[in-house]
């Protein structure tokens, strides 16, 4: 039994790996690679947010705040203080985790709309601070971020690299790196979900009362998952900053928080692969609908609303259900 379960866990991860690493076949220019890399980084953020929203049933309308904090912390430490990227990412993640824990303790006592409002406020406050701390962050104009490096070895979108004898340009190399990071992010998330901690998290969603009477300290677990999802956002934000080479307060904006939550809802709350699909779809959409640029926020709001009304389980779970229903019907028809 356990074996079968393990296999099914690994199968999902393997399918994702195959998709990610065969995608370059369809990518023909640096712009495609740039988009795919952004998708992978944002998908990683959404996988973390889904732990909070989809699995633990909480909400954060300010998650871009943590993404932005991670991005700016890395940008500032590597740019102004000459840190290497890895320690900047790690220390940033720890700090953001700490901040999430401190603000999470009190606000996660709230439920429903109150929790939404409180997390929204957290996001706003972070965005305001980033906007106002001009000396550190460059304010609304943004700031440049140095090239990503692993203790001196640099990964630049403009470099050339070779991997197992294959020549790669910088954008290809960055994509592969981001894809690998996403795989690790998914693997960690799946490990978390399928564990005693994961069951406790899901029980907070499934029945908080049941969770409490079997001994789950629900307040503690809500804080824990809030911190974990913030750490995901922070690390991904840091990578995003290095990849872009330039960040503005938009990375911490309310609009971006809404984009993240829409990805989770559209893709399928509680489905790790689903929210990745959500990230891909919502990242592609503005490319296709370039004429609606100014209407982007409206469009995302509309998608969020329509999904919740017509497809509350989200894209991937709904598709999976439709497919399995059809298979069942076909099997039934043959008898």
């Amino acid at each position: 039994m356990l074996n079968r379960f393990m296999q099914s866990r690994l199968r999902g991860l393997m399918v994702l790996a195959v998709i990610l690493f065969s995608l370059p076949v369809f990518l023909s220019n640096p712009f495609h690679y740039e988009l795919a890399t952004q998708m992978a980084i944002i998908a990683g953020t959404v996988v973390g947010l889904n732990l909070l929203v989809g699995f633990a049933g909480q909400i954060s309308l300010g998650h871009a705040g943590f993404f932005g904090l991670g991005a700016y912390f890395t940008g500032i430490m590597t740019g102004h203080y000459g840190w290497s990227a890895i320690p900047a990412l790690v220390v940033g993640a720890i700090l953001v985790g700490l901040i999430a824990w401190i603000v999470g303790r009190p606000i996660l006592r709230l439920k429903g709309h109150y929790l939404s409002m409180a997390t929204l406020a957290v996001g706003f406050i972070i965005a305001i601070i980033i906007n106002n701390e001009r000396q550190l962050t460059g304010g609304p104009d943004g700031m440049p971020v140095p090239v990503f490096d692993v203790f001196g070895w640099e990964l630049s979108p403009f470099g050339t690299y070779s991997l197992f004898g294959i020549e790669l340009n910088g954008s290809e190399a960055w994509y592969l790196f981001a894809a690998a990071v996403l795989l690790v992010a998914v693997w960690l998330a799946q490990n978390l979900i399928d564990s005693p901690i994961g069951r406790a998290l899901r029980s907070v969603h499934g029945s908080e009362v049941a969770a409490r009477v079997v001994g789950v300290n629900t307040a503690r677990y809500k804080s824990l998952v809030f911190v974990i999802s913030a750490v995901y956002a922070s690390v991904m934000g840091g990578l995003y900053a290095h990849f872009q080479g330039f960040i503005t307060p938009a990375v911490a904006s309310f609009d971006f928080s809404i984009v993240l939550i829409t990805m989770v809802v559209l893709g399928g709350m509680g489905s790790t692969m689903g929210v990745i699909l959500g990230a891909v779809v919502l990242k592609l959409l503005p490319q296709i609908l370039t004429h609606f640029q100014e209407m982007e926020a409206v469009m995302f709001g509309l998608i969020l609303m329509l999904t919740m009304i017509f497809m509350p389980k989200g894209l991937l779970p709904t598709l999976q259900m439709a497919v399995s229903k059809r298979l069942k019907r076909r099997a039934g028809g043959q008898q």
């Binding site: 901690i197 499934g206 009362v209 969770a211 009477v213 509680g270």
Partner: protein, 252 residues
Amino acid sequence: MNALIEVRGLDKAFGGVHAVEGVSFSVQAGQVYSVIGPNGAGKTTLFNLISGLYTPTSGEIRLNGESTARLEPNQLAERGLCRTFQQMQICMNMTAIENVMLGRHLKLKSNLFSTLFRLPSLLRDEQACRQRAKELMEFVGCGEYLDTDASAMSYGALKRLEIARALAAEPTLILLDEPAAGLNATETAALEVLIRKIAVQGTTVMLVEHDMKLVMGISDHLLVLNYGRVLADGTPAEIRQNPDVIAAYLGG
């Protein structure tokens, strides 16, 4: 003898309604102790008070001599108290066996590091936990549902699943709130056997139930509530002959 549960002058008011009023009683370890009474008598409220979901308006509950006033439900669980619900509380976002494994929450070490990297120690614990959960599901008679989504199970099976989850915590005291409600005669008979098995293992059982045949057959002691107050308190034989009870409840 020291009581496992000791309740003194317990009161719970919702606005002007006293759902539980001046209730005192004690439960000895090893008993099957049933609480009966008409609809709205305050039985569920009493269970919610004992399990820490409600805080008393006044009065006191002692578990093994310790006041539970400041304890959260999860802290009471740490002290060996677990329960099921009249309004079933199943995690529909999990499989059947995961619900039972959740019951073993306090028995499992949950180390974030070994969780994230799925270290062998975690896998061993999980396997043992799963094995134990499987045994419990067989014990309560839903062994065929292991990896079924809870949301796909029948009402009767879910009721038993909830008992399995409570048992998974290895409680010293288990509270069952109307476990037979909605069950047919066969299922009720199976439930009676199950409750006896639980009691034989040495677990103290507190039971709220409307099925008089079940209650009278299984209980060591009965508490009769009416409008939040204790109407009578005694063995099944005593309760059967109690004129107040006959007038207020059994007769009506």
